[in-house]
Amino acid sequence: MVKRSVIVSSAVLALVLVAAGCGGGKKNTSTAPSGGGAKGGTLLTLANDAFSGSPDPQVNYTLQEWQLLIMTHDGLVAFKRVSGPGGTKLVPDLAESIPKPTNGGKTWTFKLRSGIKFSNGQALTGNDVKATFERIFKIGDSPNAGSWYNGIVGGDACVKTPKTCSLSQGIVVNGSTIAFHLTKGDPEFLDKLAMPFAFILPASTPTKNVSIPPPGTGPYKWAQYAPSKQARLTRNTFFKEWSKDAQPAGNPDEIVQKFGLTPTAEVTQVENGQADWMFDPVPSDRQGEISTKYASQVHINPLTETEYFALNTRVPPFNNLKARQAVNYATDRNALVKIFGGPKLATPTCQVLPPNFPGYKPYCPYTKNAGSGKWTAPDMAKAKQLVAASGTKGARVKVNTLTTDPQKSWGNYFVSLLNQLGYKATLQALSPSLQYPYVQNSSHKVPFAWSDWYQDYPAASDFLNILLGCGSFHPNSNSSPNIAEFCDKGIQAKMDNALKLGITDQTAANDLWAEVDKEVTDQAPWVALMNTKYLNFVSKRVKGFQFSPQWYFMLDQASVK
């Protein structure tokens, strides 16, 4: 089960389920432009669980809530609300335009659009913007406060003393003009402004976790959030469309997400037309059935994400490079793809960055007939040689994974494979809510752990630096996304260079990221498995399905009338 609903994040970086996929070309991939469609009706969606953690927009780190938040709230900039590759492009949202940075990339000056109101009728002002960013720190548990927004002048002090946070030096408001002053240039600053943590809230919003998202400026407002029952969005009567690209008006009058059904029951409800869409992945046992009987209701869209097992580089036997490479050579990635649902839903990979992502260049050394960049077949003979040479044969390996499929089946596969390689492997399956914090904590010394990563925004650093950077390893912390505990000073220096270079020359920076990706792959801190696709299953009455590479199925752009 993909961690779409449970994203426990670190104070530094995090795991998100934002989508991507710059896809197109697939038979069932929608590429229609957004907007249009019949208005009215209720779009009923289903999810097994409510959003993980607080529903506060500045705290929640799940795609599940973000898919709803983008319809109720706005940032200064936004990812264009269209399907296909254009969906990763940044467009002005509450700001009139996207400015060019000045002062060596350290100052960004925005002008707010006029006439925009929150769903409580209050007009949007520059003070709301400043208060929103201060609230990110004041609230205390916003996951990326200390890693994404601490670059604003005064941000570091706010991290240290959140309650007295003041960004008056970092965010200067002058009427409808807002200037952000950063301590150093940040090539990803605009991306960070487009994320839901930076969605603008009224200045009067209390600086504590809220039980339902506060008023926003989008076409819908939150009417109900009951974690044991449902979330319900209704129209924001104060909304007037100002940018079709950034925040188009929605079609359904009401959008409801009901919680509590199992994915199998969700499939049945969608088949019967009792619900319109299921958030959870379609269980593989039901895929054949919908492929046969409900093919016209299926939409398959590529994602920018990578599934992997992290090999702990500080714990035996995988503190040995040859042992890590051996597992990589031995892994039959086709078998794992089959367990996931087959080649229509996933593609094998050996590297960290997903296809069609900044910095991606196909590379796969861990295959028979290497050279094409594609994985073709496992090389068991070479793997056994490497295990013998590593001297790690006979070591105990606990394979940590989820209790749910396909991760559990992947875990069983690796137990079998590791035993064949001469290790003594056992399975340790934990529930989805426990597993991610557990495997991040180095005190548990987990040698082999499943995880996955979905982009926050389209930047190579969002994978490589977050998941394998030295700064992302936090000993004995549940928020340490570098599960492999990998730190190579040479590679880290290259990552730092690529980040700096990105301020002036993103193309050159991406070339450098491609080198980093290759070097990391050679060091084998992961067994990268595959890049997956999202199988959306909608009811017969849903028209105008559109899939944003950033936010997935854009619920408000579908028609149910």
């Binding site: 087959g342 499929d405 137990v415 399956a429």
Partner: protein, 352 residues
């Protein structure tokens, strides 16, 4: 005052259709054997149980010589020959979109007789190996449970007083916990030790079947202890015990020569019923993932594996389910037969 109490001669107990002359001069064990052999349903159940045990313990023969398969290693990318054609063990989905990869279904040949599980392993081979593990744990834990309970009940019932109070309260304490909750708690603690368990020179591997065997044995001790203790307390008051005491018999002799033979029949009656109960418990724990660990198989783990295939390959869950039903049913009927044979009028059943 028990030692002076008058007790009439015990009434002679006859089974249905039995005449007094049929039992005259025969030992109780011989009588029981004769009664059991006459009980066709019980004998049928015994035969069925023995058959299940036999085929389960013949799992390696089936896997290596008939199915030519490895029941424990993943075979997701593997192929097999069905009706002269080589086919994938995990087959690509059909329909317009070709979604979903489905394990091969029942071939009704030796290889993949009941199809494959999600790892591409032969379900029949795993059911047989699983039966071996389930029965080893079930029979092993029932024997250990009965042995521990018998020893404790003998001590408590014979010495009475403080000894009885302490042991009985300890049993009450275990009894107070719901069986499955206690078993899950113990399994969670004991099975998560990375390097297994170490008690002095004894090392138990975390994947060893001894761990679930001992856990299940311990949680059911009170269920055997209670009725046996009652029998010991009763036997302790009998004249033949009083007579042995008056002849200067030692405590050990009293316990093993006078009391044990008279309570053993209760334990023997309980044994098949306990095996049925422990087989079920093992299946439940393994289903929950805290009994037998993959890649080893037990009927519980195979049902768990089949959960995700209920729509497309229901046999993966149904076959081990049927094996559990047949095993438990045969043991329960056999238990009833043994009870009737040893004591035609007794109403001893395992309490829950």
């Amino acid at each position: 005052m028990a030692e002076f109490a008058y007790e009439p001669e015990p009434e002679v107990r006859l089974a249905a259709g039995e005449q007094i002359q049929d039992i005259a001069g025969k030992s109780p064990w011989r009588l029981a054997g004769r009664r059991l052999l006459r009980n066709r349903i019980a004998i049928g159940s015994l035969v069925l149980f023995v058959l299940i045990v036999a085929v389960s313990f013949a799992a390696p023969l089936y896997a290596h010589h008939l199915a030519h398969t490895d029941a424990f290693n993943s075979n997701v990318s593997g192929t097999t020959v069905v009706n002269g054609k080589r086919v994938d063990v995990i087959q690509q989905g059909s329909g317009k979109l070709g979604l979903g990869e489905t394990p091969i279904g029942a071939t009704w040949h030796w290889n993949y007789l009941f199809g494959a599980d999600a790892q591409g392993r032969d379900v029949m081979a795993r059911v047989l190996y699983g039966g071996r593990a389930s029965l080893e744990i079930g029979i092993g834990s029932a024997l250990i449970c009965c042995a521990i309970a018998l020893v404790l009940a003998m001590i408590a019932g014979f010495f009475r007083g403080w000894t009885d109070s302490i042991l009985s309260r300890l049993m009450d304490l275990i009894w107070a916990f719901p069986v499955y909750l206690l078993a899950i708690a113990l399994a969670t603690v004991l099975l998560t030790k990375e390097n297994g368990l170490q008690w002095g020179p004894i090392h138990v591997d975390p994947s060893s079947l001894w761990v679930p065997t001992m856990i299940i044995a311990v949680v059911y001790v009170p269920y055997v202890y209670r009725p046996v203790r009652g029998q010991v307390l009763s036997a302790r008051e009998k004249e033949y015990v009083e007579a042995a005491i008056s002849q200067g018999a030692s405590n050990l002799r009293l316990m093993f020569s006078e009391i044990l033979p008279n309570v053993l029949s209760t334990v023997i009656v309980l044994l098949p019923l306990m095996i049925a109960t422990t087989v079920l418990t093992e299946a439940a724990l393994s289903f929950l993932g805290i009994g037998v660990k993959d890649p080893k198989a037990s009927w519980g783990t195979i049902i768990n594996d089949g959960q995700g295939l209920l729509y497309t390959r229901p046999l993966v869950a149904i076959v081990p389910g049927i094996m559990i039903v047949l095993t438990v049913l045969s043991l329960n009927v056999l238990g009833d037969g043994v009870r009737d044979a040893l004591d035609p009028r007794a109403k001893v059943r395992v309490g829950k």
